[in-house]
Symmetry: C2
């Protein structure tokens, strides 16, 4: 099996098994503020086993393609949503679970105005901005308990631009 | 009493009575992802009477200073958080409650990387981007019930740049 992963476009259908794409695509669900503002309503399947939702900010060093992905993580107690605030394109990288370990990952290229919400328990890579340092708002579970499971790969995956 | 309101800088202390400024200022609360990412942790007092938190997107027409503010609103059942995704500066406008009506408003100039969370029940203006159309992620209460109270002013306030 090739250890190469080609970056693919971020499309809601392809991403649905891992979570939700949060973007202002298509017509808004409603117009508010006397017609001056569109609302794309409730676009992520937030799911917290306990605790509560909170808003944090992440600022991450950028990555450059190609790079080797050697670490994945998941959060058993809650969904985790990433909303870009700096306009930087980024990669949302997720993997199916295979007997408690991450399987072959997929790498989705998100624009600087596309957010993503990973479903609770979905394997994903750490935040991966492409270009300048990435500022993101993060909506995730706030509460006690072990909500981080990491898996370091014996052999990494080479994440690369589509040929 | 003058019906003029001068825009002021958005500073956490000045804004605290109305809510929280969500920004990556000062050192992060923790470093994650092997030191490559800073986390400013749990920066908003989210508060939902019932229902649950959800993530929506708003895209709003821009305003130009000066303009007349004639409508304020509040959400009795939950906090409402605005996170800019398009880099556009914007105004966070809030007002104290005076016997069930909004008092004199204050207008805070936010940068394109500053978010704001209005406390539950705080009077505020509708989304006010300055410049290009403003794309924002919004974290607010999803659920049934009347969570919008609007107050139209008989006489508006002129919101203007500081002289």
């Amino acid at each position: 099996m090739s250890r190469m992963v080609d970056v693919e476009p971020l499309e809601p259908g392809a991403f649905a098994r891992f979570g939700d794409v949060i973007e202002a695509e298509g017509p808004p669900d409603r117009l508010i503020n006397e017609g001056l503002c569109g609302r794309w309503h409730d676009r992520a399947r937030l799911d917290f086993a306990d605790g509560r939702a909170g808003i944090s900010l992440f600022r991450s060093e950028p990555r450059t393609l190609p790079f080797t992905l050697a670490l994945l993580e998941r959060h058993p107690l809650g969904s985790q949503s990433f909303l870009p605030m700096g306009g930087t394109p980024w990669l949302a990288i997720a993997a199916p679970d295979e007997d408690g370990r991450p399987g072959r990952p997929r790498a989705f290229r998100a624009s600087g105005t596309q957010g993503v919400s990973y479903l609770r328990g979905v394997w994903h890579a750490v935040l991966t901005p492409l270009g300048g340092p990435g500022l993101f708002a993060v909506v995730d579970r706030i509460g006690p308990g072990a909500n981080l499971e990491e898996h370091r790969l014996a052999e990494g995956w080479l994440i690369r631009a589509a040929p």
